[in-house]
C-alpha cells in the first residue's frame, strides 16, 4: 500500500489547536470566571503554545500539552494566584477517600443533583477541585491524560477526583439547605 506524502507531514499548529478553541475557552471561563480574562487566557495560551510548538513531540498528546499550558498560565495570572492561595496545604494528605458512612443507600438515591445546583456548586469549589472535575467529566480525559495535564501522579488524580466529587455534593447540599 502506498502512503501519500502528505500523511507523513506532521499536523500544523493551526490544525491541532483551532478545533480545541471552544473547549479551551469553556475551560478558561470556568477557571477565570469572566469573559475578558477567559479570552486573554486562551489568547496567551495559543501564543505560548505556538512559540513552543517546535518543542512539542508529534505523536504525543497535544490536548494534554495545551491544557497544561492554559492551566499554568491561569495559575500565574492575578486571579489564578488569588485562587491558588485558598488551596489547603493538606489537600492531598491523609486517606479520607472513603465516602461518608452515615448515609443509607435509600437516602443517597433521594438526593439527586440537578444541573443548576451542580453549576452553582462547581462555581463555589476551590480551583484545584473544579479543574479536575472539568478535565474528567467535561473533557472526558483519562486519568493518564489528567495526570499529564496537572503534572501529578495518577494515584493523586484518583484521590483528588474522589475528594472533588464529595466536595461538590457537600457544597450542593449546603446550598440547598440555606
Amino acid at each position: 500500500m502506498c502512503v501519500s506524502e502528505e500523511r507523513l507531514v506532521p499536523a500544523s499548529f493551526e490544525e491541532l489547536a483551532m478545533p480545541l478553541l471552544d473547549r479551551l475557552y469553556n475551560f478558561a471561563h470556568w477557571l477565570a470566571g469572566n469573559r475578558e480574562e477567559a479570552e486573554d487566557l486562551v489568547q496567551e495560551t495559543f501564543a505560548k503554545a505556538l512559540k513552543g510548538f517546535s518543542s512539542f513531540q508529534p505523536g504525543t498528546n497535544f490536548r494534554a500539552w495545551i491544557y497544561r499550558i492554559l492551566r499554568n498560565t491561569f495559575l500565574t495570572s492575578r486571579t489564578g494566584l488569588k485562587s491558588a492561595a485558598t488551596v489547603p496545604l493538606d489537600a492531598e494528605g491523609g486517606n479520607d477517600a472513603l465516602p461518608a458512612t452515615q448515609r443509607t443507600p435509600e437516602s443517597i438515591l433521594l438526593e439527586r443533583l440537578d444541573q443548576q445546583l451542580a453549576r452553582e456548586a462547581l462555581d463555589q469549589l476551590p480551583v484545584h477541585y473544579r479543574e479536575i472535575l472539568l478535565l474528567c467529566e467535561v473533557e472526558e480525559m483519562s486519568y493518564q491524560e489528567i495526570s499529564a495535564t496537572l503534572a501529578i501522579p495518577t494515584g493523586t488524580v484518583m484521590s483528588r477526583l474522589s475528594r472533588a466529587r464529595r466536595a461538590l455534593r457537600d457544597t450542593a447540599q449546603k446550598m440547598q439547605r440555606s
Binding site: F13, Y25, R35, Q115, L117, A118, L122, M158
Partner: protein
C-alpha cells in the same frame, strides 16, 4: 456500613479506569452490596450532573473567534487560476450535507446515550433498593392484572415454566415523566430488569431492535405494538437473548 473492600475504588469504576479483572470482580460484588450499588449510582449522577452543567457552558463570541483565526491561521498560498471555483462550490455543498447529517446523527447518539444511562440508573436503583418490587409474585396472572389502571397500556407475560428464569415481581417505573412497567426476573444469581414503556415516551432515537452494553450492563431493546421493551442486567448476552425471545413470543 461502608464497604471497606471497594469504597476506595468506586471512582475508578465509574470512570472506567479499573483493570479488567478488578472490574469483573467489582461487578460480581455489586450484585450483593447495596452500599456499593448506591454509591456507584451517586457517583454516576454526579458525573452526569457536572457534564451537563459545565459542557459548552461558555462559548467564545464571534469576534474573538475571528481574532484568533486571524492571529493563528497559517497564510495559504494564493491559487494561480480560478478553475477550482466550481469544485469548491461542490465541496462546500457536500460539506453542508455531511455537517447536517452528522449533526442529526450526533444528536441522536447523545439522546440514545442519555436514555441508556437513565435505564441503567433505574436498574441499579432497583438493585440497591430495600423494597425492589411493589408486587411480589412469581405468577404472571397476578403481576399482569396488578398494573391495571396504573399504566396506560397492557402487555403479555410469557410462560416461564421450563426456562431458567424466575419472575420476582414488578413495580411502576417512569421514563420522561411517563409511567411504565418494570418486571424483575432472576436467572441463577443475576437480576434482570425488563422495562416496558410506550414508544412515544422513548421517542424515535432508537433502532427498532438493538443490543449493546451500557456501563457494563447488557441491554437489549425492541419495539412491538407501539411498546418499547428494554431488557437490562449483568447476566450474559445469551441469557438476555433467551429472555427477550420469550417476551417477544408472548406479544
Amino acid at each position: 456500613m461502608a464497604c471497606e473492600l471497594w469504597a476506595g475504588k468506586l471512582d475508578a469504576y465509574v470512570d472506567g479506569e479499573l483493570p479488567p479483572a478488578d472490574e469483573r470482580a467489582f461487578r460480581e460484588h455489586l450484585r450483593g452490596c447495596a452500599w456499593c450499588a448506591a454509591h456507584s449510582l451517586e457517583l454516576l449522577q454526579t458525573k452526569r450532573a457536572v457534564h451537563s452543567a459545565a459542557s459548552k457552558r461558555f462559548l467564545p463570541d464571534a469576534s474573538f473567534r475571528a481574532r484568533m483565526q486571524k492571529a493563528f491561521a497559517v497564510p495559504r498560498n494564493p491559487g494561480r487560476n480560478f478553475n477550482w471555483l466550481p469544485a469548491l462550490a461542490a465541496v462546500a455543498a457536500a460539506l453542508l450535507v455531511v455537517v447536517a447529517l452528522s449533526f442529526t446523527y450526533n444528536r441522536n447518539r447523545v439522546r440514545e446515550r442519555q436514555l441508556m444511562s437513565e435505564l441503567a440508573d433505574l436498574h441499579v436503583a432497583t438493585l440497591a433498593s430495600s423494597n425492589p418490587v411493589d408486587v411480589v409474585s412469581s405468577d404472571r396472572h397476578t403481576v399482569k392484572p396488578w398494573f391495571q389502571g396504573k399504566i396506560p397500556f397492557t402487555f403479555n407475560l410469557p410462560e416461564l415454566a421450563g426456562s431458567p428464569f424466575v419472575l420476582l415481581g414488578a413495580r411502576i417505573s417512569y421514563l420522561n415523566q411517563t409511567p411504565g412497567a418494570e418486571l424483575i426476573f432472576r436467572v441463577r444469581q443475576h437480576q434482570i430488569s425488563v422495562f416496558i414503556f410506550q414508544d412515544r415516551a422513548v421517542g424515535t432515537v432508537l433502532a427498532k431492535e438493538m443490543a449493546r452494553t451500557e456501563l457494563s450492563f447488557n441491554v437489549q431493546s425492541w419495539s412491538r405494538n407501539d411498546l418499547r421493551y428494554f431488557v437490562i442486567g449483568d447476566a450474559s448476552a445469551d441469557d438476555l437473548d433467551k429472555l427477550s425471545s420469550l417476551l417477544k413470543s408472548s406479544t
